[in-house]
């Protein structure tokens, strides 16, 4: 057995937690956030929305099922560091191909285990999420604290540019594609792509800074604004582009393109519609958040991962109506444009990890696209 290597977490509050290292050696700085899911750590680790963050899992036993080649949400691990109560020393699952330790080490992610993760969670809940540093090399609290305080703040930070694709690319095409959908990639989770593919969409993924002209050059039937990391307000170029999409009916084309925003995509849409976003104290990260669909009264248990939210008040008087609300804290979870085929949700209908309760939203998107196409056809001829 390898000798246990120490690791330390120092928070900007000055608190520190010493434990063992189970990832790569080195240092990682990021916003420390907690996720309350009991399953799905591999999906969480590969979710680009965690860029710039160190993830703490509240479930104490992590690594039990190892990792496999299927449960990926992107090609990389995007978070900066990973913290658990106890890392499993063996893997037990028929699909597993690699241990979590190796998975993280080979991807150069430092990881910490053996600390009182509940105490840390409660600290973040009470003081709010904050920056921290996870180190396996430097153990001097003073020096670590300095590094934390010198690191970038989440507010005002455009992390999208770090995770978006550099070139447009086409996702695996379904057998007989019926619709053409363009994804604005702010850090898209692959299950969004898979979910649309299952619905018969030909999908083109575009970099976040694509212009309206570049988007229109693909003649999309629908546009998806993906999830992604960081402060939405910092991604002004995307907000501009979205504004232009919303404004399409007023242009000479006089037609609108259905738009569906998820998570960061929802926040960017909110900003483009004239609303404001703000940072939540400790965010929503987990797979058990109840959301009510205001049109049907149904409750869905949702996957969530966001630190910012759209301010409901700021939407007053705008062309927007609320469609979904979080039952835990009353925050905005979904909205739609009053007249245009545009809607968005703050949570993750593609789940992965998490419950499948909200898959219907992809159907709604498809229905919207089809209706829009029909109307265009009607008005054209």
């Amino acid at each position: 057995m390898d000798r246990i290597k120490p690791a330390i977490l120092v928070l900007e509050s000055g608190k520190s937690f010493k434990g063992s290292s189970f990832g790569s050696s080195g240092e990682a700085v990021g916003e420390v956030v907690f996720n309350t899911s009991m399953t799905g750590y591999q999906e969480i680790l590969t979710d680009p929305s965690y860029k710039g963050q160190i993830i703490l899992m509240t479930e104490p036993h992590i690594g039990n099922v190892g990792t496999n080649s299927e449960d990926l949400e992107s090609k990389k691990v995007h978070c900066e560091g990973f913290i658990v109560r106890e890392i499993s020393s063996i893997v037990s699952n028929w699909r597993s191909t690699e241990t979590l330790q190796k998975f993280l080490t080979s991807r150069k992610i430092p990881a910490l285990s053996g600390i009182d993760t509940r105490a840390l969670t409660k600290h973040l809940r009470e003081a709010g999420v904050m920056r921290g540093i996870l180190s396996t090399v430097d153990f001097d609290p003073e020096s670590l604290l300095k590094k934390v305080r010198d690191s970038a703040l989440m507010i005002g930070n455009d992390l999208v540019k770090e995770v978006t694709c550099s070139q447009p690319y086409e996702w695996e095409v379904p057998k007989s594609p019926t619709l053409n959908v363009v994804i604005m990639d702010f850090g898209v989770k692959q299950n969004i792509l898979r979910s649309l593919q299952e619905k018969g969409c030909r999908i083109t993924v575009l970099p976040a800074n694509s212009t309206i002209q570049q988007i229109l050059s693909y003649s999309p039937d629908g546009i998806m604004l993906s999830n992604g990391p960081g402060d939405p307000a910092a991604v002004h170029y995307a907000i501009d582009t979205i504004k232009r999409v919303i404004d399409l009916p007023n242009q000479k084309a006089k037609t609108s393109i259905p738009l569906f925003g998820i998570c960061l995509g929802h926040q960017l849409l909110g900003l483009a519609l004239g609303g404001k976003t703000y940072k939540l104290k400790f965010g929503h990260r987990g797979v058990n958040h109840p959301v009510k669909d205001l049109s049907t009264g149904k409750i869905e248990i949702t996957t969530q991962n966001h630190g910012f939210a759209v301010d409901i008040e700021s939407l007053a008087g705008k062309d927007v109506e609320l469609t979904h609300v979080n039952l835990n804290d009353g925050t905005l979870e979904g909205m739609r444009h009053k007249t245009l085929p545009i809607f968005s949700v703050q949570y993750h209908p593609e789940s992965s990890s998490g419950p499948h309760d909200s898959k219907y939203l992809f159907d709604r998107f498809i229905a919207l696209i089809q209706k829009n196409k029909l109307m265009q056809k009607y008005s054209n001829g």
Binding site: M38, T58, N64, V65, S92, K122, R125, V287
Partner: protein, 1081 residues
């Protein structure tokens, strides 16, 4: 949408007596439901025959019927109360089956009653194997290959299609009764016959074996708007093949990826929707193939269950309470989460700890029965433990089991055996399997070997291996335990006792060392949300980490109540009832109550019963940690049965204030010699006795006392190992066997008492404040002395005691209570032989009969006792409670308690009552006359008790004279008689009309055929001394149980039956139901 306003009165059906497969979890769920519905303003009616429950306390329902749970009695209640709705999903299988029966009989339609929670169709779809299978196939879910048979021919045809091994399950039975795993054609015929028999509709499912597959359970809730949530996922440590009630289970599931878990979640919702459970909780079981991941649905319970009680305690989400609210129309988002207060119940709890449940067995009482664990549930109780890791929770659970183990090994009690024995025990599931895994690892087997042999997932084995590695590390460093190692070992769940054993120290050395090093437990909150939201409920578990969340208010006046731990035979729901009453009494008197218990089935471990709940094992270490943290004014040990009582001396020695009767008095009552001296001083009679540690001495003592004698090991519970022996040969056998069990050394001596033949036994419960004594109840046993009081039926007020006897009993009780300086409850057992009153034993604690007396009289005696323990006097309490209701002469009604025995679950065990307690539960019959009260008690206990038909008599010679007049009377009121040869000749000679039946050896049809064909309606069989298991008598008794023909094995019980039958025959009274409340007006 809110609650329904079109219904006003709701009837809840309880689950009746505690039996294997249906324990106090349904008191927990029923009590929650009653409280929830009452708080919503509904009028609530309850029917439950079990007097030991909290739910039957008169203040919980508006109308409480302690009446038999049969369709006839239920209809009477419906007719009288005219409820708008019945909620049948909270009283286990009993309530569900009962609801189905009355619905099908048209009773509900006749009286205009609606089933809420689950409709008839949904219940049938879930419970009927065939309908369930069809429903699952329709929605595309995979199931094990199977077929339904209604007779043996059909069954054989299906078995050929599926191949062996296969599983046979009868429809509509409890806890898998009659289920079995069959490996060959030979076994198949017998198993299929039994199963067809045990199904009330003669229907069995024959199924592809999924033995060794991984087993998972999901606890799901649904509201009327079709919102579904998973409350808890549970993974079984024991793979498929062992009944989930007998499996070690773990929450949350540990070995599924999110993708796989979500498949189970989707399927669980599909299932609850297809079955059509409209609102409430359901439990869905899945098997998952360990190497290819194929998922099959095993079954679903359309009601709250044992698993949902576990899930409630494991997550902090009160499933039963929420189920009740959903049933009256609320939706999940309209109900607040009590724990966070700010968030709604429409969410899925997330855990930041690990929960382990381990079942507790009672095989030591049924030694002749097969002890293999299979699809028929055999455990009698369970323990739950919470830790931050599986390792910690597992070790805590094992020490909470009270099976003499301090954790997973490392306590000097390991008995590994040879490698072949170890392998064998891994192959065949048994209650020791968890220890066998440690033996196997120590013997060099690896995780894969263990998986191949047992199907136990390597992840679990790895955790066990890590515990063993830690054990070796501690041993290696035993002379010099570092801070880090000591802390880590505590995080691995090692008890001080284990550490003491490993380092050759005493437990107190380790404790001192820990305290010196400041390695103290930290208490964390069970909050449903892994710390995401602040929690307002003080529900704690211990672990060894950095932050302690259990902030203590030193200003509060608080009292710790120690619960009873896992249910077992001899210590069950009665003690939980008493503990809950102690909590209520403390609240009434302005004290804060702190509950410590580790039994997830109980009301006492509901987080909103006490002010603080510590879900912890009841060991000295764990309890002392809480005491040192909380600094209560005292600890109540009297109410949780023998478990807390055993902690009295160690706690007192550690300086803890024991409330009520002093530790010294408890010691006097438990120590034979000291007690003997006290009796001598008070000039009271007791059967002569002696004690010895060797065979020779035992024989000498017995000779002096004269046979028969009653022998037992000292310090036992529930008459464990107790036996009446009639001669030297019997005694020799007994002593040799008991020495053998202890590996030849007997640390506790064997006690020998003179056995009082043909003596009446009487139980007395009394309350003393040290100055005066209140007799709460004098209970006359129906069975004579020599049969464990827990197994004996008893009557309140007594019917056959003379005034003088009663007065003597009262006098002695007062003398003893004051002599022992009791403060609180005490229970005395008396034997009356030829007018002389002997003291058999004294227990200075709440007894099993306390709830029965409270239900029979309407006086909450446990509450009164608790108040005395915190300093009130009987004089002061007189104004608060009406003690005159306890007056035997003033009682206008009669209550009969009957024991319920688990014979059906332990085939091979002779169905005889003895000094060793075997019953799991009790029922009460209450009415204006003995005849009716007794009749009701028999019906409630599951006997059909016919008032006409044929009686089969097979009596031992010694009983024939006494039995003759009883049998004659029964013949006089119309019973016909059939008897085996000896009895036949005797009855005939005495002028009775009787038929002869062949003994088994005399050819067919013989006596057992008669029972099998149900050609007799009652069996009277009294066993001769030293009767072997292969005797006709034994087979007669076994057949009676198997084919559910009422049987009397004692003449005293026959006499009670005769009395009752005669009265009913002559007076033809109308059998009526009455609320408990109405008896106390």
């Amino acid at each position: 949408m809110g609650k329904r306003t079109d219904i006003h009165k709701i009837l809840i059906i309880g689950s009746g007596p505690i039996i294997i497969g249906q324990a106090c979890e349904f008191d927990y769920s029923g009590t929650q439901a009653l409280r929830a519905l009452k708080s919503e303003g509904y009028e609530v009616v309850l029917i439950n025959s079990n007097p030991a429950t909290i739910m039957t306390d008169p203040e919980f329902a508006d109308a409480t019927y302690v009446e038999p749970l049969t369709p006839e009695f239920l209809e009477k209640v419906i007719e009288k109360e005219r409820p708008d709705a019945i909620l049948p999903t909270l009283g286990g299988q009993t309530a569900l089956n009962l609801a189905v029966t009355v619905a099908e009989k048209g009773v509900l339609k006749k009286w205009g009653v609606e089933l809420i929670g689950a409709k008839l169709e949904a219940i049938k779809k879930a419970e009927d194997r065939k309908l369930f299978k069809e429903a699952m196939i329709k929605i595309g879910l995979d199931l094990p290959k199977s077929g339904v048979a209604y007779n043996l021919t059909e069954a054989e045809k299906i078995s050929k299609e599926i191949g062996f091994p296969l599983i046979i399950r009868p429809s509509f039975t409890l806890a898998g009764t009659g289920s079995s795993i069959v490996y060959s054609q030979d076994e198949f015929i017998e198993a299929a016959t039994n199963a067809l028999d045990s199904s009330p509709i003669s229907e069995i499912l024959i199924e592809e074996s999924v033995l060794g597959w991984k087993e998972f359970e999901l606890e799901v809730m649904r509201d009327r708007l079709d919102n579904c949530v998973v409350i808890c996922s549970i993974e079984n440590f024991d793979p498929m093949g062992v009944h989930t009630g007998d499996s070690i289970t773990v929450a949350p599931a540990q070995t599924l990826t999110d993708k796989e878990y979500q498949i189970l979640r989707d399927q669980a919702f599909q299932c609850i929707r297809a079955i059509g459970v409209e609102t409430g909780g359901s439990n869905i079981q899945f098997a998952v193939h360990p190497t290819n991941g194929r998922v099959v649905v095993i079954e679903m319970n359309p009601r709250v269950s044992r698993s949902s009680a576990l899930a409630s305690k494991a997550t902090g989400f009160p499933i039963a309470k929420i189920a009740a609210k959903l049933a009256v129309g609320y939706t999940l988002d309209e109900i607040p989460n009590d724990i966070t207060q700010k968030t709604p119940a429409s969410f899925e709890p997330t855990l930041d700890y690990c929960v382990v449940k381990i079942p507790r067995f009672a095989f030591e009482k049924f030694t002749k029965s097969d002890q293999t664990l299979n699809s028929q549930m055999k455990s009698v109780g369970e323990v739950m433990a919470i830790g931050r890791t599986f390792k910690e929770a597992l070790q805590k659970a094992i020490r909470g089991l009270e099976i003499g183990r301090a954790g997973l090994g490392a306590d000097g009690n390991d008995v590994p055996g040879t490698i072949e024995e170890i392998k064998n025990k891994l192959r065949i599931p048994n209650n020791n399997r968890i220890f066998n895994v440690t033996y196997a690892l120590e013997a060099g087997l690896n995780k894969e070997d263990i998986f191949t042999l047992s199907g136990i997932d390597p992840w679990f084995t790895q955790q066990i291996e890590e515990i063993i590695e830690m054990k070796h590390k501690i041993e290696k460093n035993s002379k010099n335990l570092s801070y880090e190692l000591l802390k880590e070992s505590k995080q691995f769940g090692f008890s001080d006792k284990q550490l003491a054993f490993l380092t050759q120290n005493s437990e107190s050395d380790i404790r001192s060392l820990r305290k010196k090093e400041k390695i103290l437990p930290t208490y964390k909150v069970v909050d449903t949300c892994a710390g995401e939201f602040p929690a307002f409920t003080p529900y704690f578990y211990s672990t060894y980490e950095e932050e302690d969340e259990g902030e203590v208010n030193p200003q509060e006046k608080k009292v710790i109540i120690l619960g009873g731990g896992p249910n077992r035979i001899g210590q069950g729901i009665e003690f939980d009832y008493c503990c809950v009453h102690a909590v209520m009494a403390l609240h009434e008197e302005g004290y804060k109550s702190i509950m410590v218990n580790c039994n997830p089935e109980t009301v006492s471990t509901d987080y909103d019963i006490s002010d603080r709940l510590y879900f912890e094992p009841l060991t000295f270490e764990d309890v002392m940690n809480i005491i040192e943290k909380e600094k209560p004014i005292g600890v109540i040990v009297q109410f949780g049965g023998q478990t807390p009582l055993n902690l009295t001396l160690p706690l007192a020695n550690a300086g803890v204030q024991i409330l009520g009767t002093s530790p010294n008095s408890i010691d006097v009552s438990e120590d034979r010699h000291k007690f003997g001296q006290l009796l001598k001083k008070l000039n009271l009679l007791h059967p002569e006795w002696g004690s010895a540690t060797t065979l020779e001495d035992t024989l000498t003592v017995a000779k002096k006392l004269k046979y028969p004698v009653i022998v037992r090991p000292s310090y036992v519970l529930g008459g464990r190992g107790m036996k009446i022996v009639y001669d030297e040969k019997g005694l020799e056998e007994y002593v040799q066997k008991s020495l053998l069990e202890k590996n030849g050394k007997s640390s506790h001596p064997i006690l020998v008492d003179r056995f009082l033949n043909n003596a009446k036994e009487v139980d007395v419960d009394a309350i003393s404040d040290g100055e005066s004594v209140l007799i709460a109840g004098i209970l006359e046993h129906i069975e004579e002395a020599g049969i464990h009081s827990g197994d004996s039926a008893c009557i309140l007020p007594p019917q056959n005691l003379t005034h003088k006897e009663l007065e003597t009993i009262k006098e002695i009780t007062e003398k003893l209570a004051l002599g022992l300086n009791c403060k609180g409850l005490l229970n005395i057992q008396f034997a009356i032989q030829e007018g002389k009153v002997y003291i058999l034993e004294v227990n200075p604690r709440a007894s099993r009969t306390v709830p029965f007396i409270s239900k029979a009289t309407g006086v909450p005696i446990a509450k009164i006792a608790a108040k005395i323990m915190i300093g009130k006097t009987l004089k002061e309490l007189k104004s608060q409670y009406d003690f005159s209701k306890l007056s035997l002469s003033k009682m206008k009604h009669i209550a009969v308690k009957e024991a319920v025995l688990p014979w059906v679950k332990f085939p091979g065990t002779d169905v005889l009552l003895s000094p060793e307690m075997k019953s799991t539960g009790e029922v009460m019959g209450i009415d204006s006359t003995f005849a009716l009260a007794f009749f009701k008690s028999q019906i409630a206990s599951g006997s059909t008790l016919p008032l006409s038909g044929k009686i089969l008599c097979s009596l031992r010679d010694a009983d024939k004279t006494t039995a003759l007049p009883m049998i004659r009377s029964l013949q006089d009121i119309g019973f016909s008689l059939v008897a085996t040869e000896g009895t036949y000749l005797y009855l005939k000679k005495n002028g009775l009309q009787v038929d002869l039946v062949k003994k088994i050896s005399e050819g067919r049809p013989h006596v057992v055929d008669l029972i099998k064909n149900r050609q007799v309606q009652i069996v009277v069989n009294t066993p001769s001394l030293n009767e072997g298991a292969s005797s006709d008598g034994s087979k007669i008794r076994t057949a009676s149980i198997q084919f559910q023909v009422p049987i009397f094995t004692t003449l005293s019980a026959l006499e009670a039956f005769k009395e009752s039958a005669l009265q009913i025959y002559s007076m033809k009274p109308a059998i009526e139901v009455r609320t408990l409340q109405s008896y106390f007006k």
